[in-house]
């Protein structure tokens, strides 16, 4: 009996990962340090139509595979009112490569055109329920708040940008710009786990 109890407890502790925001929920706000040393808050984007929040990091091969495509997304959609905000949620004691200093190096090397924020305590990743890198939460302005409009992958081929068939994030933004709801509004993708303390 005791064994069964312990087992049940173990199962629950394994399954009991953080809850994720859902499409339609109010987007949790954040105020995090950018690679340039300045703080960036979701409130800074009040004049925008939306924000492409992407949890990503330095070390993960999937995140690296998407770096150029994230830059392209920012260049394409910043002028249309949907800038990218990248957030690294990994604990540095688990992945030294994802340190703030290495974020600065990576942002410079790649010429990031968007803020790359450090969520050192994973508080923002926990508030959103970010589970992996890269993990997109597309926000759209709704009244004086931001609402989650799409959660998931950037597109359907991490490996080969030229073989992509469906660009989920672009498709979702175009839908919002056309006054429609993104379809699909959620997708899944393989990625590296968010490294929580």
């Amino acid at each position: 009996m005791k064994k069964l109890f312990v087992f049940t407890f173990m199962i629950f502790s394994y399954l009991g990962s953080s809850a994720q925001v859902k499409v339609g929920d109010v987007a949790p706000t954040f105020n995090l340090k950018n690679v340039d040393g300045k703080m960036v808050s979701l409130d800074d984007y009040r004049s925008q139509k939306g924000v492409i929040v992407i949890f990503t990091c330095n070390h993960c091969p999937y995140a690296k595979a998407y770096e150029d495509r994230i830059i392209a997304l920012d260049k394409q959609y910043k002028p249309k009112g949907f800038p990218v905000v990248a957030i690294n949620p990994n604990d540095v004691s688990i992945v030294p490569e994802d340190s703030y200093e290495n974020m600065q190096v990576r942002a410079k090397e790649k010429g990031f055109t968007f803020p790359y924020l450090y969520d050192a305590t994973q508080a923002v990743a926990n508030a959103y329920g970010a589970e992996r890198t890269p993990h997109v939460f597309l926000l759209k302005k709704s009244g004086d708040k931001f609402e989650v409009a799409y959660i998931g992958a950037i597109d359907d081929n991490y490996k080969d940008a030229s073989a992509v068939k469906t660009r989920y994030v672009e498709q979702a933004i175009e839908a919002i710009l056309a006054g429609k709801k993104p379809e699909p509004s959620t997708t899944k993708a393989i990625g590296c786990t968010v490294k929580r303390k």
Binding site: V6, D156, A163
Partner: protein, 162 residues
């Protein structure tokens, strides 16, 4: 002409022979899927991992130990690697050799993962490591790093009841 062909085949055979004998099958999801739904009395532990994934590397020795502990039971471990198929020879095979991995390894090369993640388990968000343990319709899915004691409890309490 015939001799040349025979000679070339011989060369090909010997160059291959001299190298590693480990060959890793590369599947797309449709090819992998039947392995997730085998209907017999064996318990299958399917672990989704990659050499570049630190928590995966950490749990792998424990999965190997579990494979050894239950080697007399109807139990089989299948390691589904999400390493890019281009890096099999340069990274995956050396890793398997170095760590003396004995379980069966398959590379899943199917980049449109949104199409198949739910087919593995609807609870899977997509991060690795992820582990599926099943026998027919009995199934446990874990999207976290596992260890020996955890897997041992799952196997003894759910699948191989004393």
């Amino acid at each position: 002409m015939k001799t040349i062909v025979a000679f070339l085949i011989l060369i090909a055979f010997f160059t291959n022979f001299g190298k590693s004998q480990t060959t890793i099958p590369v599947y797309n999801f449709d090819q992998l899927e039947p392995l997730l739904h085998q209907r017999n009395d064996t318990v299958y532990l399917i672990n989704f991992w990659a050499t570049w994934c630190a928590p995966c590397r950490k749990e792998l020795p424990d999965i190997e130990k579990i494979g050894e502990k239950y080697s007399r039971e109807k139990f089989k471990v299948i390691l589904v690697s999400l390493d890019m198929s281009e890096t099999i020879n340069s990274t995956l095979i050396p890793f398997l050799k170095k760590n003396n991995i004995r379980s069966q390894v398959i590379v899943l090369d199917d980049p449109d993962s949104n199409r198949w993640i739910d087919k593995v388990d609807s609870l899977w968000g997509g991060s690795i490591p992820a582990t599926l343990v099943y026998r027919n319709d009995e199934k446990i899915f874990i999207e976290k790093q596992v260890d020996f004691n955890y897997l041992d409890s799952v196997l003894t309490l759910k699948f191989f009841k004393p």
